[in-house]
């Protein structure tokens, strides 16, 4: 069966597709010598139009400013239908109005940090996200909660790596994130391995487990499980991240990932060592000077 002869429109389109894939104009013309005289000026014009239009740029600050507005609007997108908790006439009363104003100001600030929560390194709001993470750790009441926060932040660094590899990114940003993730995991482990026994005087009689120490041990196992999960995730994702990188960067990043992976393994092993309950010390060795209450 003979193939239908391509029309000039087909030939023109074929050349345009080839030019788009990087073939030169001359090579395209050589493919179709009979049509070359008619093709050449049209292809040149198409190329010039592409080149010319690519010189129209949108200033980065404009693109970022639009994104900030969009991201805020994204947060405000209706997700769930909720019952209204106030009626407009409440705003006419002085006290509710004042409370609403304070609340609105608070939410506006919090809204920004909520938007920042999904930002990535290099984004305008990323420093806000970092600040928020520090505040979250500081505000965590117990050592156990702080450790949980650190694990969550380690996981967040991995998620950021995943998002960054979808964009065109450089190995320096990925290295920083990989190291940042391990550092957060290490902070969590350090907190869980710290021997901070309750005051000696509060220790239970020998042979009995002090309740707060039992909770500490429970959290240690929880953190270990979370980090193991994190380690498994890293192992699965590592290959995917590497595949997204340009071939020239893969080898170096592979060694960075490997190093961080081993470090995380070491940290988990540390958590596996069962911590000993602080020993009951004789009163004379007590770290608390009983004669001077309040001084260590």
């Amino acid at each position: 069966m003979s193939r239908t002869k391509p029309t000039f429109e087909d030939i023109l389109n074929d050349c345009l597709e080839r030019l788009g894939q990087g073939e030169s104009l001359e090579a395209c013309l050589r493919r179709y010598p009979a049509e070359a005289p008619e093709l050449a000026p049209l292809l040149r014009l198409a190329l010039e139009t592409v080149t010319l239009s690519s010189s129209i740029v949108v200033p980065t600050r404009v693109q970022q400013a639009v994104w900030v507005r969009l991201a805020q609007a994204w947060q405000g997108q209706p997700r769930k239908v909720r019952q209204p908790f106030f009626t407009p006439h409440l705003l006419l009363r002085p006290l509710p109005a004042a409370i609403m104003l304070v609340l609105a100001l608070f939410l506006a600030g919090w809204g920004t940090t909520e938007v920042a929560a999904s930002s990535l390194p290099g984004d305008l709001l990323y420093p806000v996200k970092m600040a928020r993470e520090r505040v979250e750790v500081t505000l965590s009441a117990s050592k156990e909660n702080k450790a949980r926060r650190y694990v969550k932040q380690a996981q967040e660094r991995s998620r950021e790596m995943e998002m960054l590899t979808r964009r065109k990114t450089d190995e320096a940003s990925l290295t920083t994130l990989a190291q940042g993730s391990t550092q957060k995991a290490s902070q969590a482990v350090r907190l869980m391995m710290e021997k901070t026994p309750p005051a000696v005087v509060l220790l239970p009689p020998p042979g009995k487990v002090e309740p707060s120490w039992r909770d500490h041990e429970k959290t240690r196992l929880e953190i270990r499980a979370l980090l193991l999960e994190h380690l498994k995730h890293q192992a699965v994702m590592k290959q995917r991240w590497l595949e997204q990188l340009p071939p020239g960067q893969r080898k170096k990043m592979e060694s960075v990932f490997e190093q961080e992976y081993r470090q995380l393994q070491r940290l988990i092993k540390e958590l596996e060592k069962e911590a000993k309950q602080p020993e009951r010390l004789p009163l004379e060795q007590s770290p608390i000077d009983l004669d001077q209450p309040g001084r260590l």
């Binding site: 014009l45 139009t49 010319l52 949108v58 994104w67 964009r167």
Partner: protein
């Protein structure tokens, strides 16, 4: 780079990061398309923002059923442009291209002047084309849509777009070679 369709699906599930990647990918294309339709840098920025707001609000209504996401997005952009032009155009006079357009020409002042002049002339020549010819040139060579995406955005079949592409390039060439619109390098 992950497939745009995957990112759109993730964005539809509420992933803001996925939407940011879709935004990064399409923002310059939509901006260029609108700039050469509207002619004003400020209005193009404003309208590009409006396009993405609409896209975001209607994202969950987009369905992957044959129509590429890019076509859907550019149909939104096209409708907004048409609305804006309807309000803006006075007695059929063409709107001049904004001289304050941001052009990526580095530090080369002379190069910038030539590019700006060429841009003005291409913009004027585009204004002399029929709506269909203008659309196909802008979708294919300014926004960088594929033939299939262009066909879907214009509601035509691929062969019809191939024919339009040919006649549009010929018309543009003719418009540019008119004495009042002669352009260096084109």
């Amino acid at each position: 780079m992950q497939d745009i369709d995957d990112l759109v699906r993730e964005a539809q599930r509420g992933d803001l990061n996925a939407f940011s990647l879709v935004y990064d990918h399409f923002f310059p294309k939509v901006h260029r398309y609108i700039t050469l339709r509207i002619g004003s840098a400020t209005e193009a920025e404003d309208l590009t923002q409006e396009v993405f707001l609409k896209v975001m609000q209607a994202l969950n209504t987009f369905q992957f059923q044959g129509s590429p996401f890019a076509s859907w997005l550019f149909r939104i952009a096209h409708n907004l442009v048409v609305d804006r032009l309807r309000r803006k155009t006075v007695a059929g006079h063409a709107i001049p291209l904004d001289e304050a357009l941001s052009l990526a020409t580095g530090e080369d002042v002379e190069g910038e002047a030539i590019t700006s002049l060429t841009m003005q002339r291409v913009y004027q020549a585009l204004g002399q084309l029929t709506e269909l010819h203008r659309q196909v040139i802008l979708y294919r060579f300014v926004a960088g849509l594929s033939l299939a995406e262009t066909a879907s955005a214009m509601g035509r079949n691929v062969n019809a777009v191939k024919a339009l592409q040919h006649s549009a390039l010929k018309s543009l060439r003719k418009a540019l070679t008119r004495p009042s619109l002669q352009v260096e390098r084109l």
